[in-house]
Symmetry: C2
Subunit: 340 residues, 2 copies
């Protein structure tokens, strides 16, 4: 049986069939009863009758890529983690609106189809989907010689989630005095990789810097973590104290936090409030990158920022099942981020 809408296009039919064979089990492992399996269907089918039980269902969708992190993966010949990256990136992007994932579709394209590589990527995608109880209901794998440089590939994905209209984040009551809580990232996630590649150019990915204690490949390919597991019980609670979430992707602190702020406040970040992971210090030193630029490009160890009334900080910290950091506060201002 072919998974619902899993298609492979390109010049080499045998490689395509082999890729589909290899990824079938992984794709199907993500299916719940909502996936209505048509064999070799043109589109993936998802039973949405649960939405009828909601007061005012809103669908949330996000498409993303993982940027030039794919080049590091291709160079290291490790493909599973970028599969996890693309799913978790998209999960976080809809999570910050307050939504939980329903289903995912991926796009993988390359210069020359290698069934083993496709299978590795889709295994990573499926693993991240399973962890989020999200179905991988479709995808497209394309072989495009001449469009992609030799040995290179790209990956994109689309996540569809749902939430109640009254629970959409950010809430309108964000104001001066609110506190910013930070939750740890697992690495640079999927941002800053053009700069990273420039800084480590010419070095083997097997290089072990003493301050990292692991190879560059391990440090740079750490999968983008999902914040669903640590935030979903709080978010789905009607009494949730969370006023807003900011996913620190491309644009880091300086561009992502303002996306959820009203125009009348500034966010003041206490950069001493958490320990900057060694990898970011190494990047800053080797690349001689200015401090502000680091906070514009990277997450600096904080992948998700939660905005909360200062009275609710203790309650929220207890509700999140891992250490969090009070990284700043909102003050009267003009929609800026101030690093202190």
């Amino acid at each position: 049986m072919t998974p619902s809408d899993y298609a492979v296009s390109g010049v080499d039919i045998d490689a395509g069939n082999r890729a589909i064979q290899l990824m079938q089990a992984a794709v199907k492992s993500t299916y719940g009863p909502e996936v209505l399996g048509g064999i070799g269907s043109f589109g993936g089918l998802y039973d949405a009758s649960a939405l009828k039980l909601m007061k005012s269902p809103v669908l949330v969708a996000s498409t993303d890529g993982v940027g030039t992190k794919v080049k590091i993966a291709a160079q290291a010949r490790r493909y599973r983690s970028v599969g996890q990256d693309i799913v978790n990136h998209c999960i976080n992007d809809i999570l910050v609106q307050g939504a939980r994932p329903l289903f995912f579709l991926d796009y993988f394209a390359t210069s020359k189809l290698d069934p083993q590589i496709v299978a590795e990527v889709v295994t990573g995608i499926s693993q991240a989907c399973r962890e989020a109880a999200c179905a991988l209901i479709g995808g497209e794998t394309a072989e495009m010689p001449g469009v992609y440089a030799q040995g290179e590939f790209d990956i994109a994905g689309t996540m569809i989630g749902v939430l109640e209209r009254e629970s959409i984040l950010p809430r309108p009551d964000i104001c001066s005095g609110d506190v910013l809580l930070g939750i740890r990232s697992s690495g640079p996630h999927t941002n800053g990789y053009s700069l990273i590649r420039r800084i480590f150019e010419g070095l083997s990915l097997e290089t072990i810097f003493p301050e990292l204690g692991i190879s560059l490949a391990d440090a740079l390919l750490a999968p983008h973590r999902s914040y669903l597991q640590v935030l979903q019980s709080t978010i789905s609670d009607m009494q949730s104290p969370i006023k807003a979430l900011a996913h620190l992707t491309g644009g880091g602190f300086l561009e992502n936090i303002p996306r959820v702020l009203p125009g009348t406040v500034d966010a003041v970040i206490d950069t001493k409030a958490w320990t900057i992971p060694a990898l970011f210090k190494l990047i800053q030193e080797r690349g001689e990158v200015a401090r502000d630029e680091m906070y514009r490009v990277f997450n600096m160890g904080i992948g998700m920022v939660v905005i909360v009334d200062k009275q609710d900080v203790g309650r929220l910290q207890k509700a999140i099942p891992e250490p969090t950091f009070i990284i700043g506060k909102l003050v009267e201002g003009k929609h800026k981020v101030i690093l202190e």
Copy 2:
């Protein structure tokens, strides 16, 4: 205002901002009241409360690319039609399951971001979305030097649609004796372009073959047509005589028609039933392509096949507001396509 989830990633921030400026109006022209606009949101929001009025709503999703047609577009420096291609391809893929489109998200990635090119692509996408009353609620534009060959780009898209569970196509009553109706394609749509490029290699895209009467660029970049307009009123009718639809994409007649057939029938195609467009004849002659291979790679002038009980043929032909062709029938068999 930035469209809902419209993000641009890459190294050149100014080019990214300019691209967003250029495409804003086009993106917003696709918005209906269902799009809940968050400025610079992380995810696109779509009010799905209409689904509560349905008996048993099923969401249908499809991700696709346009294959190496993008190389012809890049060579001809025409970018709007591939935007239409990706939307219409996805519309047709969910239409064959019986669904109507709700919203779309696109992914555009390239070696070096040119704001004008992005704007052209998104203008094409928006135009096709508007024609389908479908909202473009999100997208990602990425600049990835080194992943894409110089001057090249790729485009992918994801369409989300909806239908009643009892209206899912194909219906289970497909049987021997049923008739295959064909509806015209507008060209090769988005399939066979690797072969096409090989056959016309070395020729200027401005070449005018007498039998075409238009330039190669015009012939090869004709947008993939959408079948929504000619089929939607029939499909949304509970008394619809349509048993199944097959979208003739990669794999042509030989691989797409069996996707909707039960294992106990063959489809016999009368290849004399319609006039093969001149472009396909030219491709076959210049490329010395075997007949069966042509019907495996190309749509040969028929982009959508409708399966219908023979008693309903007249009624269905009247309901479709353009000429259709009786191109074949189903007979007892073993899931094959037979060309006569």
